[in-house]
């Protein structure tokens, strides 16, 4: 097997930038079950959209009602059409690099509440 030369590996690595794996969720909607969606829920939790409920410590791979609400709030905060689905606009915004501060408004996240005007 011919190993890719070092520069190729580096190039590939840059394409594997953080969150690019979320592309596989495109067009997922309520009721769907996609392997790895728990990772996307962790992303939504990090930015203040999805609290970890007290009883279960891990997120599931199911696109449930709670996640749909989180997607709608995300779309609202990022000025996207409120479809409640992981449409192309929403997925490409999710994959876009961003600031690490939470978007949460009037909810606790990283100890910061924010108030939108």
């Amino acid at each position: 097997r011919i190993l890719p030369d070092k520069s190729t590996v580096i190039t590939v690595a840059s394409h594997n930038a953080t969150w690019h794996e979320f592309m596989k969720f495109i067009d997922a909607g309520k009721g769907s079950h996609v392997s790895g969606m728990s990772e996307l829920k962790t992303y939504f939790n990090r930015f203040g959209y999805l609290p970890i409920s007290s009883n279960d410590t891990n997120f599931t791979d199911t696109f449930d009602t709670q996640f749909e609400s989180a997607v709608i709030l995300y779309q609202q905060n990022l000025g996207l059409p409120l479809t409640g689905k992981l449409d192309t606009d929403t997925i490409s915004t999710i994959m876009s690099p961003r600031c690490g501060m939470s978007d949460s408004v009037n909810t606790t996240s990283h100890g910061f509440h924010t108030t939108r005007r």
Partner: protein, 192 residues
């Protein structure tokens, strides 16, 4: 526009002067310190032009109001960075003053000399994070500096009405600032 809970803001003397400094040990070496200082100088000036606040660089990092550094991965503040792209930077609400950038990014001062597809504009991110340092949270207005995301090889440094209204509600208006000039520039960019 949005604020952090309790609308925290800086409340030191009037007229207000905030000092800023760069970490003596946590910087990047492929951009010169003069380039980085010039970029942050422009970013601070943009906010200073709309509010009655002066920003002054100091060499004394430990006593500065605003402390800037580049860090990789877990750097001890509970918000680890995540490698190429993803989270680019973060800053803390007033009066904390910490402003951290992800060292793993390819930071660019201009895209003519940096060809990488994952290059990120340092001035755009600096201007955004200074907004957090002053007390602004994220906005849903896509054109505004305080919008959470920024694509690689994109420059977004001009404060928009949403940014200015938000920060002036915290600190008042710079007496030399005229909203009309901002409106003109927004109208011309909208027409464009």
């Amino acid at each position: 526009y949005a604020y952090f809970s309790g609308k925290p803001r800086w409340v030191n003397s009037t007229p207000m002067t905030l000092t800023y400094a760069f970490s003596p040990s946590d910087m990047i070496d492929y951009l010169s310190s003069s380039e980085i200082r010039m970029v942050f100088g422009r970013a601070f000036s943009r906010w200073a032009s709309v509010i009655p606040v002066n920003f002054t660089e100091t060499g004394n990092y430990l006593s500065a109001d605003i402390r800037i550094g580049f860090y990789r991965g877990d750097h001890g503040d509970g918000e680890p960075f995540d490698g190429v792209l993803g989270v680019l930077a973060h800053a803390f609400s007033p009066e904390n003053g910490r402003l951290h950038l992800d060292e793993a990014e390819t930071w660019a001062v201009d895209f003519d000399t940096v060809k990488s597809k994952v290059a990120v504009d340092l001035e755009s991110v600096a201007t955004h994070e200074i907004g957090h340092v002053l007390g602004l949270a994220h906005t849903s207005v896509k054109e505004a500096v305080m919008y959470p995301s920024l694509s690689p090889r994109t420059k977004k440094v001009d404060l928009k009405i949403d940014d200015v209204e938000g920060v002036q509600a915290l600190y008042g208006s710079n007496p030399n600032f005229k909203f009309s000039s901002l409106l003109e520039s927004e109208n011309s960019s909208n027409h464009a």
